[in-house]
């Protein structure tokens, strides 16, 4: 029997963990128990920043990680999922899968680090949980915002101060006023994690959209050691995983909206108006995208502008047929709570 060690920094309750659990269960089943998984959740084998380096050296065989956030300098192209591109998770998911298949430079980022990507799934759109009003572009000025990656770059452009903080501490920090806003948090997990209970305002920040993704990858040598039959099973199951994840995410977003609607506390959900959204985009979208193009090309000779263009084109292609509603759109449609 093949023993495969799986490591993740997430606990088992998250949507993406459920997808991984489904995948592992399915592989065990379809291989008639010839493949067995040993599972380490919540960073019990490798902490978030160590996941991809650990995968590279074989400390784990399969990892779920967000290399764009935790190994930013090594996974520059993976930071292509920039703010203000799209809120449609299904479209972004398909675009990323196709980008990995079709863009050699993007794929090489993983292959050169011993990672055989099984599948990529997007986080839900970004949210802002604030103790101060946050409904206009100008509202960002002077706010301390917990944020990472390009979200932080956007916050800076908008006149706010980005603050780094691990998620569990951020929950606490908002309540105690250490930060004014907690961001870089997907809609579903923020609400299910209860951050809205510490906030006075929940905001879409001008429809910032999807800002990051998780990749489940396997160590290349371990992959090569598997029999062709086993590889085939894993490839087949992994191919079904993104669609399953999107279906689960759909359910989780609805659950989160239910929870927001049922919330009794003093919470206002602020959606930026059309005009304010345009203003935010003008200030933060293009400059941040341009900065990424420059930064991502710093250590290599890749035409990063082309990668971004490629990615955006794929997103637009899939958006055309998408009926996906973001968490905030679902909330607005429900017409509950304070707005």
């Amino acid at each position: 029997a093949e023993k495969i060690v799986y490591a993740s920094y997430m606990s088992e309750v998250y949507t993406v963990s459920k997808t991984d659990l489904w995948m592992m269960g399915e592989i065990e089943k379809r291989s008639n128990g010839e493949i067995k998984f040993e599972k380490y959740f919540s960073g019990s084998l490798l902490k978030a920043p160590d996941l991809y380096p650990g995968l590279q050296s074989g400390a784990a065989d399969i990892v779920l990680g967000t290399p764009a956030a935790y190994n930013r300098a090594d996974f520059r192209l993976s930071n292509v999922v920039l703010p203000y591109i799209s809120s449609k998770a299904d479209a972004v998911g398909k675009a990323l899968t196709e980008l990995y298949a079709g863009n050699a430079a993007f794929r090489k980022e993983y292959e050169s680090r011993n990672a055989h990507v099984l599948y990529i799934v997007p986080w839900a759109e970004n949210t802002f949980w604030s103790s101060k009003p946050l409904a206009k572009a100008d509202d960002f000025k002077g706010l301390k915002v917990r944020s990472v990656q390009a979200v932080a770059d956007s916050v800076k452009k908008l006149g706010g101060t980005p603050v780094t903080m691990a998620w569990p501490e951020a929950l606490d920090a908002l309540g105690r006023g250490v930060v004014d806003v907690v961001s870089s948090s997907p809609f579903d997990s923020s609400v299910l994690g209860g951050i809205h209970e510490s906030a006075k305002v929940g905001s879409d920040g001008g429809d910032m959209g999807i800002f990051s993704f998780a990749a489940t990858s396997m160590n290349q040598q371990r992959w090569n050691k598997l029999s062709p039959a086993h590889r085939k099973i894993i490839t087949e199951v992994a191919a079904d995983a993104p669609a399953r994840f999107i279906a689960d995410l759909d359910g989780e977003l609805n659950k989160a909206v239910d929870k927001l609607c049922a919330h009794k506390g003093d919470l206002t959900i602020s959606l930026f108006s059309e005009a304010e959204r345009a203003k935010v985009h003008k200030i933060a979208a293009e400059p941040v995208h341009a900065e990424w193009v420059k930064w991502a090309a710093e250590t290599n000779k890749i035409d990063t502008a082309a990668v971004l263009k490629d990615y955006i084109a794929l997103v637009r292609k899939h958006e055309a047929t998408s009926t996906w509603q973001s968490g905030f759109q679902r909330y607005a449609a429900r017409n509950c709570g304070k707005r």
């Binding site: 380490y40 490798l46 160590d50 380096p53 050296s57 074989g58 400390a59 606490d172």
Partner: protein, 432 residues
Amino acid sequence: MELLIPGLIIIGLLLALLTFGVPIAFALAAAGIVGLVMERPWRGIEFLLSTFAYANTAHFAYVVLPLFLFMGHMAFSAGLSRRAFQLGQQLLGRLPGGLAAATIVGCAAFSTICGSSVATASTMAKVALPEMLRHGYKQRLAAGCVAAGGTLGVLIPPSGILVIYSIITQVSLLKLFLAAFIPGLFTAIVYIAGIWLMVKRDPSLAGPPVTERYTWRQNGRAFVQSWEVLLLFAAVTGTIYLGIATPTEAAALGAFFALMAVLRRPGRWKNLGDGLRETGSATCSIFALIIGAGLFSLGLSTTQFPTHLATMAAGLDLSPTMMIVLILLPYLILGMFLDGISMILITMPIVFPIVTHVGFDPILFGLLVTKAVEIGAITPPVGLNAFVVKSAAPELSLSEVFRGCVPFVFMELFIVAVMIGFPDLSLFLVRD
């Protein structure tokens, strides 16, 4: 059963190394590395070992440990335990067995600013024990209530044991502290009631009631005079419970005010130096243990031992409560060989998966394990708190100290039963 064999080999190896006197931290690490080597390719192990020490120590939240250790040392050096005891003495001194009750109050008050059971027992042994003996208390009662009262040190937050438990199990320290307060207070009340009953039944246990009468004004002044204790209490427990500060920040504030209390007094630089040295060496040896226990945990879980054991335990078809009682029993025996921190760190990799598997609340389990560990500290043949009391008062015989602990052990068992029977006593503050 054969699924358990690789894990049993690791555990057997650990026990052998421990018996041969290898320092616990190195023994844990050795056993863990052997487990990894049995199950994983070397390149992977290399990465794990090369990053392990950093990944398991460099956390802002862990700073809480040296800060609480330092605060305890400073509170001790400043003689704040005397203030705490005096406060109790003025409030309860005139009741039958009042000085013993005052000792418990003093222990409880000192426990809100000190996270160690031994430190609480030893400081109270110096302050309260002579006072009780002077007033004609039987050695048994005097020693018993100091040894048992010391256990409040880790039951009432802050608590070193709960910090360690939180680090090794990843259970929220804030929630553990919130949950521990009521059971800690309850323990103090049960002790006081128990003392009152004992003295009622056998007045010869305690000397004649203290005759000094205090006016409200004097009581008020005693309260004011213990302002340093109250300030520390407010800085630590107050800020945590009001949600103003995280446990780490509260520890820093507490350490800061305790340091001020030391600097106001004579012998300040010596006390500060001693405190820093002791804090440094305790931090080193405890974190060495934490790293060792982490490696042991990793090695053991690569053999899948905890998972299989949890599945087997679930197959026993016991209620979660019965299961927890079964898990807790060995701690009373382990206490014969190990101190509380080592006990928690060595056993959690094995038992914690069972606890979560049967769906028992990990917060309540943390409190119960702390209780079990502390019962071990007041039962023979090895009972740390009893030893501490004995060494503070050489004229007492150890058997007399242990005899004094017996009624408190029964009270403890009663308290544990109540905690298991009424989980809400601990958990109502931390329910989502």
